[in-house]
């Protein structure tokens, strides 16, 4: 179980997170929704210790992650597929995947996992020798997800995986997220596409200007009037 306790983050005096508390149970899909600048990405980046925390703590299975270097957090089995994909465009698809498994020393395990990824994303297999920068946007997103999956993370965090993708691809990505979850991974999903995210989520949190204003099971949030009005675009 991943828990966040009273997390505060600011960038140059501007508060991004004002004391949020989160709990992500093993094997679940948990989603964070909210508008731009609500603090969704900051939450994920705090978990990976990519941003400085002012206050608060982050624990995974009782172990304190708060001040651990990013590479050690990865070794604990937590992976983030960052916003904007951030694939290594100057490296081949295969090299991107190999780097995803940087913390694993067993070559056989890496190959096994890579083949699994190729099964999950056949497009990547077809293009394994290509420079990642030459892939289409959707393929790059798949690569970013596959790269994060290379360590078989216990917790997979996805930041806006559907951003900028065609509707058909969005559906694919969400199907894949469900499939990954079915294989036992815990998933923390940040999405602008609140409807899609809540549909597959076991539990959801709604962030507004750095605070959690609402939380509950995915299905219940989907029915909530405030959520409907603010994030699902449904008129009353």
């Amino acid at each position: 179980m991943l828990t966040i306790d009273n997390l505060h983050v600011s960038y140059g005096g501007i508060k991004a997170l004002r004391g949020i508390n989160l709990k992500i149970d093993d094997g679940k899909i948990v989603t964070l929704i909210g508008s731009n600048g609500a603090g969704k990405s900051s939450t994920l980046r705090s978990i990976m210790n990519l941003v400085k925390k002012e206050e608060g703590s982050i624990k995974y299975d009782g172990e304190d992650l708060t001040n651990l270097p990013t590479k050690d957090i990865v070794k604990k089995g937590i992976a983030l597929s960052p916003e904007g994909r951030r694939i290594f465009s100057n490296l081949s698809v295969e090299e991107n995947l190999i780097l995803g498994a940087y913390t694993i020393n067993n070559k056989q395990k890496i190959t096994e996992q890579m083949n699994k990824m190729y099964d999950l994303f056949p497009r990547l297999k077809e293009r394994h020798w290509q420079k990642a920068g030459t892939l289409s946007g959707g393929e790059q997103q798949m690569l970013a997800v596959a790269r994060a999956l290379m360590i078989r993370p216990k917790v997979l965090m996805l930041d806006e995986p559907s951003l900028g993708l065609a509707p058909l691809l969005v559906k694919d990505i969400f199907d894949i997220i469900k499939e990954i979850n079915r294989q036992g991974n815990t998933i923390l999903l940040v999405e602008q596409n609140a409807k899609k995210a809540l549909e597959i989520a076991d539990y959801g949190y709604v962030l507004e200007t750095g605070s959690i204003v609402l939380e509950g099971e995915g299905q219940i949030l989907l029915e909530d009037d405030r959520v409907k009005e603010a994030y699902l675009g449904d008129a009353k």
């Binding site: 590479k71 960052p82 465009s89 100057n90 490296l91 780097l99």
Partner: protein, 297 residues
């Protein structure tokens, strides 16, 4: 000019170009990863030569052992330089790092004058490397033939490391995106240290071979080669290893050929590199093999 003379100049230019290439790689590697022009790199080259000098004069170790140890030791100096002068500034504006690099360069020069004295020292080259051989009427220094061979071997090793190993992949990833690289679990500090080690090691090998070819050591011997190799890296396209090698050979061969064909311009030997830099910056500012960075959104 007879064909013999031309071949002699060609051998000379090739070996000078090799030395430049070895030094230019250090600039380009560090720039690729830190976006920093390591202006102390010429001084690392100088230290490599001096350390080998003291290794040869103060110990009775065989010369090749001394050369290897001196290069490794210089590599460690390069790693230390990064830890002390650049790492604390990693999140500062780039210009701060640049100033720190220039400061480190002056520090090394003056430290060298203090420790080794400003008086030139004769490099005690091992006899095997100083002879002259005749090939078809062309007399060539043995060292001028050895330098390109050593350089090519080192380049092949470097290329393999960067293309095939996990650390090499990590270096390439780091040159693209620090944060994404750390999300892979890559130890950024370790990779940066490794980069400085390689760059400084190659500079030391260059410095030692320079000492054999031009056997006079002075504390400012790294300044001009340092500047020229920075230019070589820019000409080839900074950040690009093949480009740095190409730039090194263009400069080395160009310089020697300029003197050979136009002896009246001998005094402008050092100006050649700068003129070439200006021309390249005017025609192709990204360098011969440099790419424009375009990003997909």
């Amino acid at each position: 000019m007879s064909i013999q003379e031309f071949l002699q100049h060609l051998a000379n230019g090739t070996s000078l170009g090799s030395l430049y290439a070895l030094l230019a790689i250090g600039y380009t590697l560090v720039y690729g990863i830190l976006r920093l022009i390591n202006f102390a790199h010429g001084e690392i080259f100088m230290l490599g030569a001096y350390i080998a000098y003291y290794g040869l004069t103060l110990t009775s170790l065989p010369w090749f052992v001394v050369f290897v140890l001196a290069s490794v030791f210089t590599g460690i100096i390069g790693v230390t330089l990064e830890r002390l002068a650049y790492k604390p500034l990693r999140n500062s504006p780039k210009i701060t790092n640049l100033i720190s690099a220039i400061g480190a360069s002056f520090l090394f020069q003056n430290l060298a004058i203090m420790l080794f004295s400003g008086r030139p020292k004769a490099f005690p080259s091992p006899d095997v490397l100083t002879g002259v051989i005749y090939i078809g009427g062309v007399s060539v220094n043995i060292i001028s033939l050895i330098i390109p061979v050593v350089t090519v071997v080192l380049l092949i090793i470097l290329n393999t490391v960067i293309k095939k190993t996990k650390t090499g992949m990590a270096m390439r990833a780091l040159s693209k995106d620090y944060e994404a690289a750390s999300l892979m679990g890559i130890d950024i500090n370790l990779v940066i240290s490794f980069t400085f080690f390689i760059g400084s090691f190659l500079a030391a090998v260059g410095g030692i071979m320079w000492g054999i070819k031009y056997p006079q050591l002075i504390p400012i011997m790294g300044v001009m080669p340092g500047l020229k190799c920075f230019i070589a890296a820019v000409i080839g396209g900074i950040g690009n290893i093949t480009g740095a090698v190409l730039g090194g050979f263009i400069l080395g061969l160009g310089e020697i050929m300029l003197i050979a064909f136009l002896p009246t311009l001998t005094g402008y030997r050092d100006a050649f590199a700068f003129v070439l830099l200006i021309i390249i910056l005017l025609i192709k500012p990204t360098g011969l093999l440099g790419e424009k960075t375009a990003e997909k959104v």
